[in-house]
Subunit: 155 residues, 2 copies
């Protein structure tokens, strides 16, 4: 169990590294990795401003990469690690991709959809549910977001 927790932290650190890349690009700093059988198969960050695309959140771009790699829209045994609790769009996409586990860092009070505002991946009405593990490296994940919005206010 402790070993698992070490691994989970390792994956979340990779997601954090992606969030830091987003920060440098002046994007909302959210990063994400997708893991299958102990291997990271997709690592991305939020690129909404860079791509000028409303859907270009870290999670959607990671799901897109993973689907391309696996040649399947079903990511059944995949786990997603994301530095901030997914919004409704991203939580819905994770369910649509039939993912297994969701690990997130900081909670998202303004739309978090994995337990805070909604709990979309736990909803039995939908055709799939995922396990949710929130709060992994939450301080580091949260600090990055806080720093970003502080910078924004000073600008």
């Amino acid at each position: 169990m402790e070993e698992n927790f070490d691994l989970q932290q390792k994956y979340m650190r990779s997601a954090l590294a992606q969030a830091k890349i987003a920060y440098k690009k002046a994007e909302v700093p959210i990063g994400c990795v997708i893991v299958l059988n102990g291997k990271i198969i997709a690592r991305t960050h939020n690129r909404r401003e860079e791509l000028n695309q409303a859907y270009a959140h870290a999670e959607i771009l990671a799901i897109k990469k993973a689907c391309t790699i696996l040649k399947s829209w079903r990511l059944n045994n995949c786990d997603i690690y994301v530095t901030v609790e997914p919004c409704p769009m991203c939580a819905g996409a994770i369910v649509n991709a039939r993912m297994r586990n969701i690990y997130f860092g900081a909670i998202n009070l303004k739309g978090g959809s994995c337990g805070t505002v909604y709990n979309i991946p736990s909803d039995n009405v939908l055709n799939h549910t995922c396990n949710i593990f929130g709060g992994l490296l939450k301080e580091e994940c949260g600090k990055l977001i806080t720093a970003y919005f502080k910078d924004k206010r000073i600008e």
Copy 2:
């Protein structure tokens, strides 16, 4: 008002034409158009199987097209017409894109997120809300979905 209703029906018929293309491809038959200033700027259909992408619902693909055309992730004055009530992912994407009006045809009992299971675009907690008009050409939109799932069961 009546003229508006005629126009709304016209746009929904374009979305229905897209849904019929999806049907012929053995995709879940959902079609969508995005309208800006009285002009259709994007028309698409569900291509999940064809693209092998979990995110490739009609609405996301239409938003992607519209963002590309307008070179902006903000689709503020755009209206979306979709033959079936959007799922959480798509309703969330419509909010993320800051769209104005959502017109949908048939309701979606298994995840409809514009009033049936959730009402994401009306949620003041999120950073944008959209107007929702459901039930436009609902019989025709619903018939297509019913026919699709009937075919599936026979196969």
